[in-house]
């Protein structure tokens, strides 16, 4: 129910109302109007499969681009739906692209499903759909199939989106979380913790005046530039939920190596640091939506850094640490003060401290 594939020449339905009701999920004319008017109109592109329940992709074209398919899915819920630097639609598109990109894949196609709470305004949906279309277009990927469901009030929070992505990994590209070796360097492509801080600040619960913007951005072009200049890249990960702390732990465990980072080298905006200070949060665990961690063989460290810094999304790139043979599976940080501490995985979500 609710598939968005249409015959391009078909007359598109028009919505007559300002809010979504359960009728728009009923499979009838109202649903067609919603899908046509909001989603199809925004995503309009010739690749939308003609009135079928699936997108049909040309194998020959895919095979020419590489020798493996990369396939991923991302469920996106965010409160608020619109925040400085992005919105749920942009987040869904960029997040899915990034999941493909850090595997070395060229992202090509997206599938998106929206779960809509009854009572959500059509205007809001339009904005989100346009944002998705815009983000996809900028990134050069196509949204080729989708679905919508409307659920009763309270069954979801306004709007949930899931996006799946398909990409192709060029021959010879081999990135693996278990490939880190002692001596490798650890790089990040820019300022950390911005998305997490922006979302917390945008919720407005703590009446803090701040102007932090989410770093939400598609990273596939940056990755392509990096891989072209630095073949010694062994592993890439996007540092989303759980921040770079979590990603580094995953790599340390998968590769059975230790990782030591230097707090003084971790790039961070003053505002993000101050914000964390006040709330008792650790910025290393804050989510990013446009940051990746790269593990690179030592001989290619400079090339990798130069490649990242040459790209607008990597201007603030830094070498933040090294892979070691000490304490395999552990991440240790040299603190600003010069002491050391373990940077562990979080038990649950970060909770603000009271004193």
């Amino acid at each position: 129910m609710g598939k968005t594939h249409i015959r391009p020449q078909r007359v598109l339905g028009k919505l007559q109302v300002a809010t979504v009701t359960l009728a728009h999920g009923g499979g009838g004319k109202a649903m067609k109007d919603l899908i046509d008017d909001v989603f199809v109109a925004a995503f309009d592109n010739s690749d939308l499969a003609p009135m079928e329940d699936q997108a049909r992709l040309d194998l020959g074209m895919l095979a020419a681009a590489g020798d493996r398919l990369a396939f991923t899915t991302d469920a996106v819920v965010v409160d608020p739906l619109f925040f400085p630097g992005g919105d749920i639609g942009k987040l869904a598109v960029c997040g899915t692209i990034n999941d493909l990109a850090v595997g070395g894949a060229i992202p090509l196609y997206l599938s998106c499903a929206a779960i809509i709470e009854e009572g959500t305004s059509v205007e809001l949906l339009r904005k989100v759909a346009q944002s998705m279309a815009h983000s996809a277009q900028l990134a050069g990927v196509r949204i080729v199939t989708g679905d919508t469901k409307v659920v009763p009030r309270g069954a979801c929070d306004k709007l949930f989106i899931t996006a799946s992505g398909l990409g192709v990994i060029p021959k010879g590209v081999q990135l693996n979380a278990h490939a880190a070796r002692p001596g490798d360097v650890v790089l990040v492509n820019g300022l950390l913790g911005e998305h997490g801080a922006a979302i917390l600040a945008a919720r407005g619960e703590m009446a803090l005046d701040c102007t932090i913007e989410s770093d939400c951005a598609p990273l596939h072009e940056l990755v392509a530039a990096l891989l072209a200049r630095a073949p010694g890249v062994r592993c890439l990960r996007d540092a989303t939920r759980g921040g770079i702390a979590t990603v580094l732990n995953e790599i340390a465990q998968a590769s059975h190596v230790g990782i030591e980072i230097d707090e003084a080298q971790c790039p961070m905006r003053e505002q993000v640091r101050g914000f964390c200070e006040i709330l008792g949060l650790d910025p290393l665990y804050l989510a990013n939506e446009g940051k990746l961690v790269a593990i690179v063989a030592p001989e290619d460290a400079d090339a990798a850094l130069t490649a990242l810094q040459a790209h607008p999304l990597g201007a603030e790139a830094r070498i933040v640490g090294r892979v070691t043979e000490l304490e395999p599976g552990r991440v240790v940080m040299r603190t600003l003060l010069g002491g050391h501490r373990i940077v562990d995985m979080l038990v649950g979500e970060q909770l603000p401290r009271i004193c």
């Binding site: 619960e205 703590m206 003084a264 003053e270 505002q271 640091r273 101050g274 200070e277 008792g280 650790d282 304490e327 552990r330 240790v332 040299r334 603190t335 600003l336 003060l337 010069g338 002491g339 050391h340 501490r341 373990i342 562990d344 038990v347 649950g348 909770l351 603000p352 401290r353 009271i354 004193c355």
Partner: protein, 376 residues
């Protein structure tokens, strides 16, 4: 926000560490350890977060005190919170870090997952705003913490009183640090040579309440700020007192904590609260006059009077050695259950509960090597 880095500078830290080392060597007693307790959980957090212990000479041993209000919250009290939160029509509001503290049946986090309306707030005024916005609901604020958070709760109650808001109550679990320091000093196996005093508490109460520690118990105390360099400087000041044979209350944190405290805050505290005859602390047992409750004049804001509260005393598990760790008799990792049946996911004792608790901090921040190496 630039100011914070001044207090975390590596060169300054190294210079201070050298001074501390020199001073520690010059104090009589050869290599006998000097035990310094930092009373406040904020210090414990800072010490682990920045790896301060690594910069100290082996002779100095830090004992991580009871000053984490979340850690010392007895399990029975968490059960009471859950019982209130599960009443129909209640919105139960709390500071974030109390959400995960395990009760005997469940935490507030679990209660919320099961349908209770539990909400995280950043101040009691946020809870009062919720009460205003939802006149048909009963909003309960979980008042928790030392003198640091006590005034804000008191001012909120006074505000609710002025506005005659009748759907707002406070479940008061505020505690006071002085009787607890005294209880620790009175216990026979205590090993503490000096104290770092809690900066934020002192900001409210001033320095006079600590006088008995120097006068009666002959221990130096330095009121310390929370940045790692504050902690180092305070340790240096404490050592200087020991070296010179002085026992005084000194203030390293004068940039924030005035000697006389905060008069307006103290007045609000005096107006709203009275001392309880005793209060139960997790890991330490019952301590006389260590908690406060609302005065009878503010009874209508008292959740303890509005709701039937189970008020059960749940004993800590037998294997739990939090008391010994708090008094400095044991290091956290020497506890029988550390890291086995007591971990941050499944805390058996108080000190494993929040990141300010000593056991949780060791578990989370220090490696096996650091635990057993020279710094052990």
């Amino acid at each position: 926000m630039k100011y914070v880095d001044e207090f975390r500078d590596r060169d300054k830290a190294a210079a201070l560490a050298t001074e501390i080392e020199k001073l520690a060597c010059s104090i009589e007693g050869g290599s006998t350890p000097i035990h310094i307790m930092e009373v406040c959980g904020g210090h414990t957090h800072s010490i682990f977060r920045y790896g301060v212990e690594e910069l100290l000479p082996a002779r100095i041993e830090l004992i991580h005190g009871p000053g984490c209000p979340v850690c010392v919250l007895p399990m029975g009290r968490v059960d009471d919170c859950v019982a209130i939160a599960e009443q129909p029509n209640v919105i139960f509001t709390t500071f974030g870090d109390a959400m995960r503290v395990p009760g005997s049946r469940k935490s507030l986090m679990q209660a919320r997952a099961e349908g209770a309306d539990v909400r995280m707030v950043y101040s009691p005024m946020d809870a009062l705003a919720l009460a205003r916005a939802h006149p048909d609901r009963e909003v309960v604020f979980f008042g928790l913490g030392f003198e640091t958070t006590m005034p804000a709760t008191a001012l909120t109650i006074l505000q609710a009183d002025r506005e005659a808001i009748d759907n707002f109550t406070v479940f008061c679990n505020h505690i006071t640090i002085i009787p607890t320091i005294k209880a620790i000093l009175d216990s026979p196996d205590v090993r503490i040579d000096a104290f770092l005093g809690p900066g934020h508490v002192s900001m409210v109460i001033g320095s006079a309440p600590y006088d008995f520690i120097a006068r009666h118990y002959r221990r130096p105390l330095v009121i310390a700020g929370f940045e790692p360099l504050d902690v180092l400087q305070s340790i240096w000041m404490v050592l200087k007192q020991i070296k010179e044979g002085r026992c005084e209350i000194e203030n390293q944190y004068a940039r924030v904590a005035a000697a006389g405290g905060n008069v307006a805050a103290l007045q609000a505290i005096a107006r709203v609260y009275e001392l309880r005859p005793f209060f139960e602390w997790r890991g330490l047992g019952s301590i006389d006059h260590s908690g406060v409750r609302l005065r009878p004049e503010y009874a209508r804001f008292d959740a303890e009077r509005r709701y039937a509260i189970p008020n059960a005393r749940i004993a800590d598990p037998k294997a739990c050695q939090c008391g010994e760790v708090l008094k400095g008799v044991l290091k956290p990792w020497q506890c029988k259950v550390f890291g086995t049946s007591c971990t941050p996911q499944t805390p058996a004792g108080a000190l494993m509960v929040s990141s300010e608790g000593a056991c949780a901090a060791y578990y989370q921040y220090s490696s096996a090597k650091q635990r057993t190496g020279a710094r052990g």
